[in-house]
Each structure stands twice: as structure tokens, then as C-alpha cells.
Amino acid sequence: MKRLRLERLANPQLIALVSVLLLNWLLFPNFFNVTWQDGRFFGSFIDVLNRGAPVAILAVGMTGVIATKGVDLSVGAIMAVCGAVAATMVVSGYPAPLAVAAALSVGLLCGLWNGFLVAVLDIQPIVATLVLMVAGRGIAQLITEGSIVTFNDPALIFIGTGSFLGFPMAAVIAVVLMAAVTLLVRRTAIGLFVQAIGVNRAAASLAGIRSRMLLMLVYSLSGFCAAIAGVVVAADIRGADANNSGLWLELDAILAVVIGGTSLLGGKFSIPMAVVGALIIQAMNTGILVSGFPPEFNLVVKAGMIILILLIQSPYAALPFQRRAPLPSKAVSK
């Protein structure tokens, strides 16, 4: 696994991130200006890190799910549920660490439920997670009783708006989570097993991989990451908004994972690249905002981006560069 450092850096995702950032810099020359104020950094680039953190956190969990050929549509709703749990507990007088722990356990439970549907009841991941996606927002509203629960607990707010060594706390959490999960899957055999399930679950089971337990694990991880993201977002706005917290973020997270080169057909994944994917999305959003374009262009630019990536990843795009290339078959395995 020893490769040249330079070669590693020259992958399409990092090139895309650098070009988006450069484009932002061209459109808005102050983009990279970072100032130090009140013990932390400020600037558009830092803002990209901060705003991109929730999607990056979601993407960490989503990568595992997509690597098993699944998808988790419920993460946005889980964010809303966990934000609601943390906020209501803090408001009713529980200490912040307990509230956060409760929120994280609820997220873990939601993930376990998804995992149970997929692994034990053998339901297709899209439908299995659709259940919680539809019901989750209702549950969140049940917890907050339909209102936006606001809170003033300094410890909880710190998670969303605080800083560590000058960097925004949300970004620090995302980086730590990314590093921990990457180490977990790459330094143990878990990553390999997950890949095996993604390629062919039946074959993986026959080869002795306990696919049920691993599927439960990846969906729980996704629920757990969604819970972290939910707490971060709630802490950021100092309130739990059951209707809008994490709304459509599942799509952004899936997009980030796909931009990061993880195949939706399973079997190939990279967690750090998914986080880079989340940063690319956020860099585009921020770029559109700071350069004065109307925010409506955001969606169209995003759509254009997806189409571009699809063209690059398509087996036909590689044809002109290959000699005697095998004809792409319908069942693309890579």
C-alpha cells in the first residue's frame, strides 16, 4: 500500500476542491483572507469548513452504508429527532453532557432500527430508511410539541459555535470523527468486510462474513453520525427546529459520498474523499453567496456538478483513452 505522496494528492476530488476554491478566489479576491479575532479565525474559507461540517459528518456515516450497496435516506430526519431530544432535555433542566449522550443514543437506536429492517427483515435499504425519513420528522415534532425549542445552555451551544485552537468546533468534530472512523475501517478488517458485502452479500456470507451484524453496524454508525450532526446544527442555531433541521441534507450527504468516488453500486469507498466531497459542495454554496450570484443558482450549479461527475465516472468516458477496451457491460461491477 505504499504509494507516492504526490500521486495520492493528484486525485480528481482534491483537484475539484482546489479548482472550486480557486474559482471562488477569482470571483471574490478576499476569499482566503483569514483574520484572528476573539481567539479564533474568521473568514470565508473558515466559513466553508464550519458550514460544511454537518454534511461532512453525515457523509462519514453515509459512506459506510453506500459501500454496502445501501442508502440511508433517514439521516436528515434523525438529525431533527436528535436535535429535538438534546434541546428539550437541556430546557427541562438536565445537564448538557447527559442531553448530548441521550441524543447520541437516540441516533444510535434509529440507526439500529434501520439496520434491523435491512439486515434481519431483508428490506431494500431505500424503503427501509424511507420509513424513518417520513415518520422521523413527525416524531421530532412530537418531542418539541410543534414549536421551535430554544435554549441558552453554554455547554451545548459551545458544540455548535465554539472554537478549538481557533478552528470552529463543528469542523474539529468532523475531522476527529473522520479520522476515527477511517482508522477503524482501514486498520481493522471491517473495511474489507464492508466492501465484500457491497460487492456480493450472498458470497460474503458464504465466505464466513457475518453480514447481518456488519450491516447493523454500518446503519448504526450512520444513525450515530446523524445524531452528532443534529446536535451540532441545533447548537449552532441555539434551538431545535423539527421542520427544517437537516431538511434534504440526506441528499447532500449522498451527493458528497458520490462526489468522493464511492460507487453507489457498492464495493468501493473512501471516507476522507467523502468529506472532501462535502467541502466541495459547501465551497460552491459559499462561493455563490460571496460572489454575489443569487442563491437560486445554487441548485442548478449542483445539478451541473452531478452531471459532470457522472460523465467523468461513466465507463464510456474512459473509452477514448483505452486501447482495446472491453465493452462496458450492463452490470458494472466497479
Binding site: 427483515l121 431505500i126 415518520a135 415534532q141 443558482f297 445539478a303 457522472l310 458494472v332
Partner: protein, 325 residues
């Protein structure tokens, strides 16, 4: 009774039981007025769900339909109110645009071999973004033709009304059922969903059928957008957000398998009616908050999926085994 019809029968029985229980509690729910409103209020969802049924039977998914409804509404409103087109001309243009849009998605899915999930996600962003670039506000539609269509209805005894859009939905369902079960295109769709490789070996024109399926879905979504603009007399870029999920839920509750190759257009009709029943019940009850709708739909979805699993496990042992690599 044919074994393959069991999930459909299960859905229908559950609908009848749920409706009977609602009627026992609120006798007024049996009136023709409520039934007529059922059809009118769910017309756009029903029409969208017909297209979604075809997509799902073929083994795909279409996330763009809600955005296409929003885009169509805005396009028609702009053409009629700002540019002075006759609504009928605007309808034709909207259906044409949606047809091209769907064809492009089908083309990408087949030729670039990208999962439909991602392609239609891009389509969703594109249509929603396109609509909000045209306008950010709700554009009212005032035209006498709209009033004529709005007044067009069959009056039932007891004050119920079968509106034009309600009847249109029923017509789309009947047409969809004929298309699925009585035409060559219909059997191609089932074959494709069952197994694309053997379908192409059997001579199914895979490329053509895929493009046609997504064209059908987008054009029906555009028709739903037209119905939605008749229903609200306005075009709004953020209209019908999340309708794709309601449509998918209706299709799944109606007994269609998301793995493809198996399903019924008429089952989707029952699914749409069941979703409508939940909403109507919660309105009738009055004490339940609107978020219960979401929870109940989630629970229903779960129940139906488990039910399908049990029925399939019981009726076709070994054949359609739950092995999904």
C-alpha cells in the same frame, strides 16, 4: 384467486377496514362530498404515482417528480400570465418540455449506466433550481379557461362533486392500468424490472424502453403539475416539495416491489386513497396534530413492507427468496 394478486388484495382489504372504522367513528365520512374531495385533493399525487409505478416496476426510481410539478406550475403561470399564451398551448409546451427532460434522464441512465437514484436527484435539483431562477414568488394564474375547467364537474347526490381533475386522475389510472397490463410496452417494463440482462437477451429494446419509462414519468408529473396549477390557480417554485416521497410511499403501499418486476397500477390507486384517508381522518378528528400524518404514514409503510415480505415468503417458497446481493 391468483397468488400474485394477494398483496393487492391485502392493501384493498386494509383500506376497506380502515375506511369502515373511520366511518364508524365519524359517520359523515361516508358522504359523497368527502369521497369527491378525496379524489380532487389527491388528484396530482395520484397522477404522479401512476408514472412512479412504471418507474418502480422497471426497477428504477424517480426523485425528480416533485420538482417537475413545481417547474411545470411556474412555466404555465409565466406563459399564461406574463406572456399571454392560451392555457392549452401552455399545457402542450409544458408536457413537451417535461417529455424532453424525462428522455434526457432515461438516456443518461441507460447510456452512462448511472444509478437512477443519482440521475433523478440531479434532475430534481435542475428542475427545482430552474423554477426558482424563473421566479421566486407565487405567480397567480387568471384566465377564463381556468374558471371553465374549475367549474367542470359532475354533481352527485348529497352535495358531492366529481371535479374535472378528480375524473382526470381516474382516467390516468385506467389508462395506466391498460398500458401496464395490455400493451407491449407494459410487458417490456415488467421484463426490465425482473431482470434487465435476460430482458435484453429476449429482445426487449432496453434503451428505448428505459427512455420511454422516464419520459412517461416526467410527462405524468407535468400533467400533475397542470392539475396542481388548476387546483391552486397559481405557479410556485417550491410547490409540491416532497411529493416524490408520497408517491413512492403510495406505490409501495399499493403492493409494488421496489426491487422491480412486480406491481399493479390499480394497487397504487388504493395506496393513494389510503394516504388520503389518513389525512382526512386527522382533519375529521381535529384534536390530532398534523405531524401525526407523517408518523401514521411511516407506520403504514412499515406494516405494508413487512406484510409483503410475509406474503411473498408464504406464497412463493424458494422462488423469490429474500436474497438480494
Amino acid at each position: 384467486m391468483k397468488r400474485s394478486l394477494r398483496p393487492l388484495a391485502a392493501t384493498a382489504v386494509i383500506f376497506v377496514i380502515a375506511y369502515a372504522m373511520s366511518v364508524l367513528q365519524f359517520p359523515n365520512m361516508l358522504s359523497t362530498r368527502v369521497l369527491g374531495n378525496f379524489l380532487t385533493d389527491n388528484a396530482f399525487l395520484g397522477i404522479t404515482a401512476v408514472g412512479m409505478t412504471f418507474v418502480i416496476i422497471s426497477g428504477g426510481i424517480d426523485l425528480s417528480v416533485g420538482a417537475v410539478i413545481g417547474f411545470t406550475g411556474v412555466l404555465i403561470a409565466v406563459l399564461v400570465s406574463w406572456l399571454g399564451f392560451h392555457p392549452l398551448v401552455a399545457f402542450v409546451i409544458a408536457l413537451g418540455v417535461a417529455g424532453l427532460f424525462g428522455a434526457a434522464m432515461g438516456f443518461t441512465i441507460h447510456y452512462l449506466q448511472v444509478p437512477p437514484f443519482i440521475v433523478t436527484l440531479a434532475g430534481m435539483f435542475l428542475a427545482r433550481g430552474g423554477a426558482s431562477i424563473i421566479t421566486q414568488d407565487s405567480v397567480p394564474i387568471r384566465h377564463e379557461f381556468y374558471d371553465t375547467l374549475g367549474d367542470l364537474m359532475i354533481r352527485l347526490p348529497e352535495g358531492g362533486r366529481l371535479s374535472f381533475i378528480g375524473l382526470l386522475m381516474i382516467a390516468v389510472f385506467l389508462g395506466g392500468a391498460l398500458l401496464a397490463h395490455r400493451t407491449k410496452f407494459g410487458s417490456y417494463v415488467y421484463a426490465l424490472g425482473g431482470n434487465p440482462v435476460s430482458a435484453s437477451l429476449m429482445g426487449v429494446p432496453v434503451a428505448q424502453t428505459t427512455v420511454q419509462i422516464y419520459m412517461l414519468s416526467s410527462m405524468l408529473a407535468a400533467l400533475a403539475g397542470i392539475v396542481f396549477s388548476l387546483y391552486t390557480s397559481a405557479g410556485y417554485p417550491l410547490a409540491a416539495v416532497g411529493v416524490e416521497l408520497d408517491a413512492i410511499s403510495a406505490v409501495v403501499i399499493g403492493g409494488t416491489l421496489l426491487t422491480g418486476g412486480y406491481g399493479f397500477v390499480l394497487g397504487t390507486f388504493v395506496g393513494v386513497m389510503l394516504l388520503g384517508l389518513v389525512q382526512t381522518y386527522i382533519i375529521f378528528d381535529g384534536t390530532l396534530s398534523s405531524w401525526w400524518t407523517k408518523i401514521v404514514i411511516g407506520v403504514l409503510l412499515f406494516l405494508f413492507i413487512v406484510l409483503q415480505r410475509i406474503i411473498f415468503a408464504a406464497s412463493t417458497p424458494g422462488e423469490k427468496s429474500p436474497e438480494k446481493a
